[in-house]
């Protein structure tokens, strides 16, 4: 199994969720994060003082998929999250060694 971590723009969350479900994913976890990459923050003025908003709000989606679904899932995310503009985000992939469903104790792919 693989874990996909996709850091995307807020308003793309719903599209990405739908795209993933179309690939057969049946679960995912989202986390509010702040980050920067190519897209840097912007300057604002607070009571006359300029300051940099360094970190921009983004959403991170964690989705664990069976290894054979990886490519399909990556493509789905990319297509759904892409606006062609800076700040669209990044996808990272990790190896998952084990997976357990708490309720049933099942493990491995069945647990997803």
């Amino acid at each position: 199994m693989k874990k996909i971590e996709a850091i995307i723009k807020h308003f793309k969350l719903d599209d990405v969720r739908k795209a993933l479900m179309d690939t057969g994913a049946i679960g995912m976890t989202v986390i509010e994060v702040k980050g920067f990459g190519r897209q840097k923050g912007h300057m604002e003025v607070y009571r006359g003082v300029e300051y940099e908003v360094q970190f921009l709000p983004k959403v991170k989606i964690d989705v664990i998929v069976p290894s054979e679904k990886l490519e399909e899932s990556l493509k789905a995310i990319r297509d759904a999250a892409n606006t062609g503009e800076i700040g669209d985000g990044k996808i990272f992939v990790y190896n998952v060694e084990q997976c357990i469903r708490i309720r049933t104790g099942e493990s491995g792919k069945e647990a997803l």
Binding site: H10, L13, E32, E44, Y46
Partner: protein, 445 residues
């Protein structure tokens, strides 16, 4: 002897206003009578001003309701709009609005004297000021209603322009038709016997119809209608929204009972009616929402409270308490259906329900003031009420519509989609309302 007595009596009864009640001068009947008038006048000023302060406080209520019922990313913007519609609106009303509404009116269509509070500069009659103070907060109320309906997508500068025009022109001109004679004016509508004691139509419907025009011209928020289906966009703080409703209710006592602009005993009936209608409105909306949605809906119940208040505003001084309950109850029911109708059928996006609460229930309240008139109801009374309701719509909706269209064609009414998605607070004001807190992914859609 006879003469002497007559003289004494004469002095006592007539001449002595010269001596007047002051210091240790010998009191006289006529002097006392003057003094009594003075004390009553003082009480009238006291009540009129305290009521005006309470109505002013409704600005805080509107700001909190509108902020609470919309998303966190637009909270700064909503608050700035509420602050500035009062600030610019009051200056516009000082410069021209008051004159159009309450100046001498030859035609019955608008006043033409008293710009820049010049009446006071001329006469030094403090009543001009007390009356202006009470009226300016009414104008601000009419103006502020719109900001809720156009929330989360309107350019700030465009909102400021609208604000000046409604406070300086649209509101006062209609106001002069119904209320001009409260000061130096004389309006055609009041001449016909139109009953709108504290402004269900004059203030609330006027604000509500301007809100309708604005919401139509600007269009719905991004994500509000997807494939023609309405989506829910929950507000960011029900607590703050509810606080706003309680503040409005409190201020409404000044709004309704203060509309006597005199310290007299009529205020008691008005206060009782206001209370009962608000309570019944909350109850009505809660029950209907419970039936329709399976759960007692909080934002609908809060809207229902305001609906009850708007509903009783016209008739608060001329209906009986039992009728007030009925009027409020129906307002609470109406507002639920109106919100759903406007949102789902008309597909007009009004984040806080301003059109339903103020426009629709304002019309209902004006009609009800005729129907439940304690002095009896005639076809003529109802007819005039309907005429007033219609006149308000026909005056406000088109002028506001044109105004918003004009703004849209020139400087633009709506912020860019990027700004709207990111939140107007950053785009328009360079600030976020709650920098210390994380923001929910789903709320930013």
């Amino acid at each position: 002897m006879k003469r002497f007595i007559s003289l004494i009596l004469l002095v006592m009864m007539l001449a002595i206003p010269l001596v007047s009640f002051a210091g240790d001068a010998m009191p006289t009947v006529a002097g006392n009578a003057e003094a009594i008038k003075t004390v009553q006048t003082n009480a009238d000023f006291l009540w009129t001003l305290v009521a005006a302060f309470m109505v002013f406080f409704m600005q805080a209520g509107f700001a909190m309701v509108e902020a609470g019922f919309t998303r966190a990313k637009n909270a700064v913007n909503i608050i700035m709009k509420n602050l500035m519609d009062m600030s610019l609106g009051a200056i516009a009303y000082w410069a021209i609005g008051f004159a159009l509404m309450f100046g001498v009116s030859k035609t019955g269509w608008f006043g033409t004297t008293g710009f820049f509070l010049s009446d006071y500069v001329a006469d030094k009659d403090p009543w001009t000021l007390a009356f202006w103070m009470f009226q300016v907060v009414f104008a601000a109320t009419a103006a502020t209603i719109v900001s809720g309906a156009m929330a989360e997508r309107t350019k700030f500068i465009s909102y400021l322009i609208y604000s000046v025009v409604i406070s300086g022109l649209i509101y006062p001109i209609f106001g002069s038709w119904a209320w001009g004679s409260l000061y130096k004016g004389s309006g055609w509508l009041e001449g016909l016997g139109f009953i709108d004691f504290a402004g269900s139509t004059v203030v609330h419907s006027v604000g509500g119809w301007a809100a309708l025009a604005g919401a139509i011209v600007i269009g719905p928020r991004i994500g509000k209608y997807v494939n023609g289906k309405a989506k829910a966009i929950p507000g960011h703080s029900i607590t703050i929204g509810a606080l706003g409703v309680f503040i409005l209710w409190f201020g409404w006592y000044g709004f309704n009972a203060g509309s006597t602009t005199a310290a007299n005993t009529d205020t008691a009936l008005i206060a009782v009616n206001t209370t009962l209608a608000a309570c019944a409105g909350a109850f009505g909306a809660m029950v209907i929402s419970w039936i329709k949605f399976k759960k007692p809906d909080a934002t609908m119940t809060l809207n229902g409270t305001l609906a009850g208040l708007v509903g009783i505003t016209a008739g608060c001084a001329n209906v009986l308490p039992g009728s007030a309950i009925l009027i409020g109850l129906l307002a609470g029911v109406i507002v639920v259906f109106a919100v759903i109708f406007i949102d789902q059928t008309l597909k007009v996006d009004d984040p806080v329900g301003a059109i339903s609460v103020h426009g629709v229930c304002g019309a209902w309240g004006t009609l009800a003031a005729g129907l439940f008139n304690a002095g009896g109801v005639t076809l003529k009374i109802v007819g005039v009420q309907l005429l007033g309701i219609g006149a308000a719509f026909l005056w406000v909706f088109p002028t506001a519509f044109v105004l918003f269209k004009l703004i849209d064609k020139t400087i633009g009414l709506r912020t860019s989609p990027e700004e709207e998605l990111e939140g107007l607070d950053i785009g328009e004001h360079g600030l976020v309302a709650y920098p210390d807190f994380q923001v929910n992914p789903e709320a930013n859609g």
